[in-house]
Each structure stands twice: as C-alpha cells, then as structure tokens.
Symmetry: C2
C-alpha cells in the first residue's frame, strides 16, 4: 500500500546497516591492495579506514525514484587515511553497490577539486593516546615541579585538546591543557594552570616535540626549563587542591534525596506515531531520518499531507569560539563536525533526556575501527503536549462558544556530548504544518586556569577556574521544496506611510504598509549575522493558494549570537557560513555541505569555504537551499556550575506555512475541541 | 510559622474580595452625596461608578510591613464618572480602610497633576449599546441598500469598534465596521464592506451624529446619501454571501471526530506546589499574585530561597496597531489596557487551555456595575514537564557517569479574550532561579473588507476578507530588587581584539574579550525598539557572590516586533513606552504604570506619557525598574483562519541569575538524577 511505498522510499536515505558496514570493510580489505591497519591501532604512518558512512544518491536520482522511477544503487562513502605511502593523503571512495560491493571509485578530486593533504585529517583517538604518552614522557623532565604543584602521580592529570592546531596550513601543533582527573564528575572545570604545546605534525611519532609550556601565566621553552626555574624559586606555584569524589564543586550528584515525582506524560492509548525503519509518520506528517557520523542528525523528504515541503533538513556544523588569557583557550575554535557530532550522540536517559514514553532507537557507526559500534537508544521520538493551546478562542461577545486545540507535537531528538558540552538537537512537527528546529546547549563549560586579568575573558566560577566566554554558532542546511522544487525568495516587511485621512484630508495618519520584494540574487539573500533581516522571509512557489497568494513557507529565526570572527582572520573562510544568519543559494549537487571535517585542522586553507557558494547567482524560480546560522554568546557565570542550563540557551528556527494552505490545516486535527452555549 | 507569615504578607497585594467591593459600593452610595446610576444603565450624562479595584500601599509601606513592621491600611481605588454635573470629569478616589470604609479621598490631582477630562473616559458597554441603537436608526435611512447588499433584517449585522476616536484631544468620533453576525464562530472575519463614523462626543445621546459612511471603497456623507446613490445605480455593491451555522470558513468546529487522545500530564503524587489565598509556593519559589481589572496579571514579592528577586512583575499594556485601506482598519491602535485585560480573562478550558491537572482559580471584578462579577476558573497554576532536560551531561570520556534534571517548571497563566484576540499570559518559574514571562497570541484576526489595493495591507484570507497587517506590542513592568533594592544596570558584550600570540608574536589571534559598562543614566538605559542591545544586561547589586562577582540578574528578550509609530505622529507619546525594547528608570511611586486607561480615548494629550519617565536621572545604586516591550509583526495569512496559532507567535523575556548564586541552585532539586559506572 501507500504506507509500504513511503517506508520503502525512505530507505533511499537510510544510514548504513552494520551488515553493510562489514561488507564495505571486507571489500576494501580485499580490493585496496595496500596494507590496512585498524584505525584504533594505526600510527600516522599507517594506512587505515577513518570512517564509512552512506553515500546518498543525487537529488535528481532520488526524485526520479520517489516519483516511481528506478531505485538508485546503494553506495557507501569510505574515507581512508593513506599514511603509509610516499605521498600521504586522505582519499574518499564511493563503494558499491550494496549489500555486495563490486567497485570503488576515488572521487576525492571530483568532490574537492584536488587531493586532500594528509595534515588536514582529523585526529584519531589513537593519535590522542600517543600524544598523551608523549606528554607523560615529557612530564618526567619536571617531576619535582609536577609533584609539588599538582600531586602528580603519573595518572591523575588529564589533557584536553584544543583546535585549530597552529597558525598556517600544514601546522599540526596543538595546545593541550591539563586538568585534574576527577571521576564521576567534569574534569573540565578543574584546570591546574599547566598547558603544553605539542608539535605532532611528523608521521614519525618519535619526532614529536614539545614546542612550548605555559604555567600560571608564564611561558617556558620546555618542561626541563620549567623544572629549572621552579628549582630556582622563580615559578609562582598555585598548589592544586585535590578534588575528592565527595567534592561538591562541579559535581552532578544530587544533594537532596529523591522527593515526590513531578508531572510526567502519559499516553492513554499508546503512541500516535509510527516508526518503520527510518520512516516516521505522525498525523499528516511523514519523513525519513538519518545520522551523519560527523555532521549529525538529518531529515529527508519531509511531507505534510503527502506533499514534500523539505527535501533535506540537516545539521552542518557546531562552532564554539573562545576567549581567554591562557593559550589553549585563546586559540580554541572548535568545529564539532570534525570531532563527530553524529558518533557522539550517546545513549539517552529515559525520563530525563526524553519522556519515559518515548521510543528509543539505536544507531550504528563505523569510525576509527573496522567493526561497527552501536550507540544504543541514542535517538528518541515522542509526542509532547506543550501545555499551551496551539490555538483557542473563547467568545462571549455576541455568542458564547469556544474552540481550541492542544499543542501536541512530535519531537525527534538526539543529544551529542562533544567532550564537555551536550547539544540537544530537536526537530519538532506541529499540527499546523510548522516545523521547529531547536538546539539547547548544556553540559560542562570549558574553562581556563584563572590568573591575572582572566576576568576580561569570562567570570570566575571556582577557586581557580575561569569560565571562558565563547560564542556558540550552529549551521543548518534547509533544502525547502515548497510546492515543487522551483522556488523564489520573497521578503515582506512593514513601513509607515504618512497619508491624509480620506474622510478628513486635513489630518494625517501614519499607516503601516506591507513591502514586498523578490530577492533575485544570492548576494541579496545573504544576511550578515548581525544585520536586520526582513521580518518576513519566504520560500515562495509558483503555485497560488485559493486566495491567489503564492504558496510559501516562512523562515523565522531565534538567535542570541555573538560575532563569528573578523574577516581579517586568516582562518575566517573556514567558518564563513557564520558570516550569515541566513543565506539562500541555488542548490548544487557539488555544494552538499557548508563545511568539511577537514576544515578544523587546516582552517587556513579550508577544504570547503561556504563564502564561495554565495557568488551572486540568480535565485528566482530555482531549486534553493537556505543555510541558517543561529547561536548564543555564552559568558559562563557561577550558575554554569555544575552544568549550563537549557533555560534561555535554546536557539533555532521555524518553518511556517504562509499562504501555503487555504486555511490552517490544524482544522483537520481530531484533537480539536469545540462547544457553544446554544 | 514561616509559611503562615508569608501567606499573610502576600495578602497586602491581594485583589479585593467581593465582600470588600460591596462595602466600597455601599460606602460610595452613602457618602458621595450625588445621584449615582449603575454603570450598566448610565447615560453619559449620569454619574456612575466605572470600576473599583484594590489600591496598593506604597512600596515603602509594604517593605516596612514585610520586614515585620505595621500592616498598611487596606484601601480601594474607586473610579467615578461624573457626567451629571456642570464640569463633567472622571474622579479617582481612594476609599478606606477596608473592610469597613470610613473615608474617601479624591486623589486625581495628586496622581495625574490635573483633572481628568470627561472625554478621556473608556467607553462602557452601555455606551456601545446606545451607539448600536443609534446606528440601527440611521440604517433605516438606507433600508433598500442594506437589504440588497447584506440581506439586512435589523438584527444580522454586528458592529466592531475601533480606536482611537478622532484626530485631536476632545474628539469622540469612532469608526464602527459592520460584520455579518454569525453564531458560534468569529464574526471578525466576515466584514460586509460597510463602516460608519459616529460622533458620540455629546453627553446628550440625541445629539449623536453619523459623520461619514464608507462602503466598498467609497465615502458618503450619510446613510441617506448612500441610499440615493444606490438608487441611482452609482454604488458598486458586493452582495454578501450569508454565512450559515454550517459554514466552514472561519469555524472552529472540528472536521474530524475525536480520535485517540494524545499524551497528557499525570501527577503521580499530586501537585508539588501550594496555593493559599494569593500566595504560591513551589520548591524554592514563592510569590503573591493579583489581577488588575484593566492592566491584567501581576506578581509581587517573588522570592527564591526566601530572598526577594522581584518586587513587582506586571503587565502594563497590549497594543495592536493596524494598517488597512478601509477607514476603521487604518486608524486602529487598540490599547487593550483601556478595554480591560484583567476583566477579559475568562474561564479556562480544562485540558486545552491548561492541563487537566492544573489548579483553576476564580477572580472577581467590579466594573461597569455595582455588583461584583466572578470570572470562574480564569487563572490556572500547574507544574509542567518541558520534556527537555534542564541540564544534563553524559560522560564516557575518562569516566562514565551521567547527571541530569528534568525541566519541570511552575506555570501561572491567564488568557484574555479582547474581542477577537486571545492573549495567553504566562509566568514560568524554573528550578535554576530563572523566571520566564511569555505571551502567545491566538484567537481571531481582525479583518477589513477586501477591495482594490487591499493587499498592500495584508493578505486575502477569504472571499472578501483582508487579514490586515498589524504590530503587536506588549509592555511589562519589572521591578527587580536584586539582593536588596539598590541596583545598577551593567552591560556586558564581546569585542574582538587583535593580539600577538604570546608564544609566537609573529602570529595574530582575533580574540573575543568581555566588555563591561555601568549604564549610569536613564537615557543610556533606554534602548530603542530596533537598536542592537548589549548581549548581556544585568540588574547588579552591591553584594558579591563567592567569586567576587556582583550578584546580578540578567534580562534576555525574545521579540519579533515591528515598528511602533513614527514620533511625528500626534498620538505617539501615548504609546511612547513602545519606543524602547527596554528602558530602565529610577523607580518612583508616582510612576506606577507606563500608560493609563485614559490614553486610548485621548492619545493626543496622553494622561501618562512614558517618555517623560526617561529624563536622564542617575540610575546607579538606586531602586530601578525595567520596562520591557516585546511584540511581533503580524501579517495575517490564509493559515490565520480560523485562528492565529501560537506556534512562532510567542514573545517575552527571561530573568536569569548571573553570578547571583555561587553555583546553579538546581543542584538542590530532589528531581536530580545521577549515576556512574563504577
Ligand atoms: Ca552560488
Ligand atoms: Ca529546494
Ligand atoms: Ca526618570
Ligand atoms: Ca527595583
Ligand atoms: Cu557555552
Ligand atoms: Cu495579530
């Protein structure tokens, strides 16, 4: 039936199954004809599979298929680190067809217009482990100092990476900050004042070097120098107070025992949505979902009453850009997509992360390993009563009646824990045809060791902890297809016009009037992060509704963003999607993402620079994509301990029907309530 | 005990009881020594009691009392229309002490610095009825036309008022638009194209005149002229299609029968809040509440862990400012506070307007009557699970643990139906010490008859219905008292500074830095509606938290407002609170409200002009008040039929602790969840 077909259609967007991953690994091992080491064991000078994910067909292929045409072949993307060859590089292969691959094709050149230099590769867990070993060895040159400052016993300090890693293309020189290794609580708020700059650019681990050491406001050439100066009494030492498991500061342990439970949700007749494979149906809504191992959650073919509204709605990047007077803090511009927003969506805790009644789904990843890993219960789907009516009117004027409807919406959620921070990714579907995309930030803040003028960069939040200010910016791709894929971007706003009252010309009226403008070029449709934006912005179609208005969807943003980076910065182009709160471009198959996982480790020569997408092409009556950046300036304060709260730290956007229908489609909801007095 | 004392303290803010209202009426009838007519029957040339509400003591008196001093006398405010005297005027009396009044004092001069001219008085239901009768009589001069255009039978047309009523002080000349009188559904979307301008300024009803008639784009001197031109075939008539009770357009009647119920809230151990009188306790929160008959909901003495954070948090005004090419629409600037935001908070429907489990409370009003009226179940209070964690962190880095807390918040709600529109007023209390104030707009849109270039002012939403664009603006008073009532306003924001990397001076870093500024004068603290505002704005105290930061509360706004009115407008000063998204002023007992109920009918000589409050006084270390304006530009579209939805139409602000505590107080919540692997 219809539903079976839809479910089957959604599979074209499905993530790889563990079986498919295994097949691709098997195929590569048999066919690459090079020695491959499992990434969890691989040295930089080895070859290894970095990750495998689904390679989606082109939109043209998919649309043909959805319209009843041929099913496109199912393919995988395999990213391989070639460290063990004369010209080390990263190669991206398309492998297919699944489930039994027969071919692989190097499409690095096609996708990026050139080879991918090896220094751009994301750092693996194995590389971090090797760096930790390296640092440990270096620490042996300052045992006395470390013992004195930090009660160092060889195991009780942890490193946290920063990024980017240097100042120019080719650098792989990273500041690592040292933290007390506390158990069961966030070490992120226990800096000890020591940071070390590691040059790990060589593929030969034995060639790695400590380039610089920072301790409590001063820089040293290496650990030995720090030890010497310490021995000479030249180092101002702040002895670390050892954090015990019972330590209160930063702990998430409840102080109060459990009390009476609060309200929770109950579904008297069970769930009202259905999930089959990666296909979700809720009232008039249906969509397909997936999880990109790096970029995170993504939805496809979002339909309302059977009509596609959005082809793709996907997270692209999450950026956190810090200030500090410590070196690690001041260079930090985390591009979380390169760390893995998808693979870091861990298990959700029933009753806290999502309601008890939610449906929890597993996801599978293959990254830095040759075997798939399951993140159990890492997606949740549930219906939620917002406890405010979606609409209501109570009348006792002329006649007594009431009509209303609860705001009961479907929520699709994943939560990524990217080291210290937790991002809650929500996609919400309302009965009126609106979609809300929302991200909340929570988890532990990053911190620096507090010294000197630290509070120019944040607030003191602990004895020696500086909660460092930063800007969160999140980018989404929204390939709206409103009543077909040929759309235009229309801006509406208000102006006041001063007019004579028609019935009393000696009097002036200041009258609001609607302004309307088609934004014809990409450059007109790229709105700087802090510019005013027209109050109404629509993806408008060529179809008209019953009242002769263009059937449209409106984009409405909620953001509290700070600035992204001055364009003079040598790395700004790598995050140039953040120049714009909204940019609408002509959709291109070769502009699938606003950034790349390779931008983090070479932001000076970005693999993908979004700014290049905005090249003033004509965007009337074209297949358009909206790229949306929302964020908030976060100045951590005492109340960010133990964790940042979601209250006030939610940002996102709405896609709302605007003359798309002839009336509010929630009229068709069976949840409507109506009564009248007569 | 402590709780009894708090409950008793809250009574100082309590609304009048019906018994108290009755006593004040009795006292006035016995002591005013003038003939008084019940307002529901009173002609303009009569004297009548317009309304009676509580007259709150001064803040100084209340604070003394709350600190253990003497209880201030309980008093009422009585507003009397004196139409039946040589110098007609409105007089405001303070009557007390309750429950057995012994004195009344005319404090009009003291409060307003002059007499209140009679023409400023709000229009009563009786005056509207008399106007309807007058219009009916005038309609007899155009029976043929009305029968032809509108199937007029003397009963099937309804009038809707507009406001303001003229162009200069003293005018009382109102456009009334005619709508099909439909039953059980919103007549507001059924304009017939006819509007009439009624001069009802005379206190002698027989002197009222029809000044102008508008029909389908043309103006006529009176109904007789319209009939004459109709008879001559000069009138372009659009015959009204009679709306039957089964009519779909604009109806709230469900199309689908009830289906499986959606999720709803369940309180396994009952409510976790308590309400005694007007005193609410929820976890660490307590507050007193009341409902101003005109201005609407207000909270007092909001405390967290026993410490006052807000002295007063009160709605001030809701403005809706329209554009149209019909006369009624183009002059409309509704100031809902003069219609009665409080008295129009009607019964809430269980399970739709608030959860089934909510507590519903009655309110009593005395307005346009000599007997109190109950609005049953017109306030609701409930705890709600937002279905997103308040905070959470999942760690599998270094050690495996999880901590989290559901976002379970107390909601205090009332919904005002002001003719066509429904405003949902929410005040939300979170476990982390944050308060959220939110308003959603729903209900029926206002509309004009569609002709000619109507869509310059909105969208066509029905056969002949123009959904007219308008700007919603809502003003709140927030008398924050952060750690005492002496506060200063501090702005923090980010700038980028270009610095040499300390370890590598040949390289520049673009580093975010925190800027901090005390805003010393009122003019610096008045932020124009569409200016950029510092990203962090705090009410800061003289106390420091454990980390030596000023204990503060942050104000964070969410608004999608359009412009308010050009200042050249002769009525702009009457809504000059809307010049500012946020203005912080020195608190004054004689600046209790940002507007007045008398501004609507004489906006050209506003009784209260908020702009006068902003006179550049020093605001450091003073008792400060924040006046906050939020709104949204509303361009109605097809989906506003039948009702505007709340999705995307919510605006408001947050009051968030910022270094007020030493850590997040939600750590003390017994709802916290924590576990670790070891
Ligand atoms: Ca382009
Ligand atoms: Ca598109
Ligand atoms: Ca002042
Ligand atoms: Ca104050
Ligand atoms: Cu943050
Ligand atoms: Cu509106």
């Amino acid at each position: 039936g219809q539903e079976d077909t839809s479910r089957d259609h959604s599979l074209v967007f499905a993530d790889l199954t563990p079986e498919e991953m295994v097949q691709v690994v098997r195929y590569l091992r048999e066919n690459l004809r090079v020695p491959l080491v499992d990434a969890s064991q691989a040295k930089p000078s080895d070859n290894c599979i970095y990750y495998i994910d689904v390679q989606l067909p082109t939109k043209a292929e998919v649309l043909l298929f959805l319209d009843g045409g041929v099913r496109p072949p199912r393919q995988a993307l395999a990213v391989v680190y070639f460290g063990n060859q004369p010209d080390p590089n990263i190669t991206e292969y398309v492998v297919g067809p699944l489930p039994s691959p027969k071919t692989h094709r190097d499409f690095t050149m096609q996708k990026y217009g050139g080879k991918l230099p090896f220094h751009r590769r994301p750092v693996t867990e194995k590389e971090y482990k090797d760096i930790d070993s390296f640092i440990s060895e270096e620490f042996s040159k300052a045992e006395g100092f470390l013992q004195y400052c930090c009660d160092y016993d060889g195991t009780n300090l942890a490193t946290l990476t920063t990024a980017p890693r240097g100042f120019q293309s080719g650098d792989r020189v990273t500041w690592f900050a040292l933290f007390q290794k506390v158990y069961g609580s966030g070490l992120y708020v226990h800096p000890v004042g020591l940071e070390v700059l590691v040059n790990h650019s060589s593929l030969d681990v034995s060639q790695w070097r400590l380039s610089k050491v920072f301790y409590n406001g001063r820089y040293y050439g290496d650990m030995a120098q720090l030890q010497r100066e310490f021995d000479q009494g030249h180092v101002s030492v702040v002895k670390v107070k050892k954090v015990s498991p019972e330590e209160e500061f930063g702990s998430l342990k409840p102080r109060a025992g459990p009390g009476a439970p609060g309200p929770f949700q109950y579904e008297p007749r069970g769930p009202r949505y259905s999930i089959q494979g990666n296909h979700v149906v809720f009232q008039a809504w249906s969509f397909a979902f997936g999880m990109d191992v790096n970029a995170g959650p993504r939805l496809f073919d979002i339909r309302f009453k059977g009509d596609r509204i959005v082809y793709e709605l996907s997270l692209q990047e999450a950026l956190a850009l810090y200030g500090s007077n410590c070196p690690g803090g001041m260079v930090t511009r985390y591009m979380d997509g390169s760390f893995g927003i998808g693979k870091f969506t861990y298990e959700l805790v029933r009753g806290v992360d999502c309601p008890y009644t939610a449906t929890y789904l597993d996801r599978y990843y293959l990254i830095e390993s040759e075997t798939p890993r399951a993140n159990k219960n890492s997606l949740c789907i549930f219906e939620h009563d917002a406890a405010v009516p979606l609409r209501r009117h109570y009348s006792n004027f002329q006649s007594l009646y009431y009509g209303g409807l609860t705001k009961s919406a479907l929520v699709f959620r994943a939560i990524s824990t990217i080291i210290n921070y937790d991002y809650i990714w929500d996609f919400i579907f309302y009965q009126n045809g609106a979609i809300e995309v929302k991200v909340h930030a929570t988890g532990y803040i990053s911190s620096s060791f507090l010294y000197d003028t630290g509070i120019d960069y944040g607030n003191q939040v602990g004895e020696r902890t500086l909660g460092t200010m930063h800007n969160h910016l999140v980018n989404y791709k929204v390939d709206l297809d409103v009543a077909g894929h040929k759309n235009s971007l229309v801006a509406q706003d208000m102006v006041f016009e001063s007019v004579q009252a028609p019935w009393s010309p000696q009097h002036q009226i200041q009258r609001p009037r609607l302004t309307k403008k088609v934004l014809e070029k990409e450059n007109q449709a790229a709105f700087p992060l802090h510019s005013n934006i027209p109050r109404y912005l629509h993806f408008a179609s060529n179809q008209e509704n019953r009242w002769k208005h263009q059937r449209s969807y409106r984009i409405q943003l909620v953001s509290f963003a700070g600035d992204h980076l001055p364009e003079v910065s040598s790395m700004e182009r790598s995050i140039s999607w953040a120049r714009y709160k909204l940019a609408v471009t002509k959709r291109k198959e070769d502009e699938p993402r606003s950034t790349s996982i390779y931008n983090q480790n070479d932001p000076w020569k970005p693999t993908v620079a979004f700014a290049d997408f905005v090249d003033n092409e004509t965007i009337t009556n074209e297949d358009l994509v909206a790229w949306i950046s929302v964020g908030f300036l976060h100045v951590p304060h005492a109340e960010d301990i133990p964790n940042t709260v979601t209250v006030g730290n939610g940002i996102g956007f709405l896609l709302r029907p605007y003359n798309y229908f002839n009336e509010d489609p929630s009229r068709d909801s069976s949840d409507s309530v109506y009564f009248r007095a007569d």
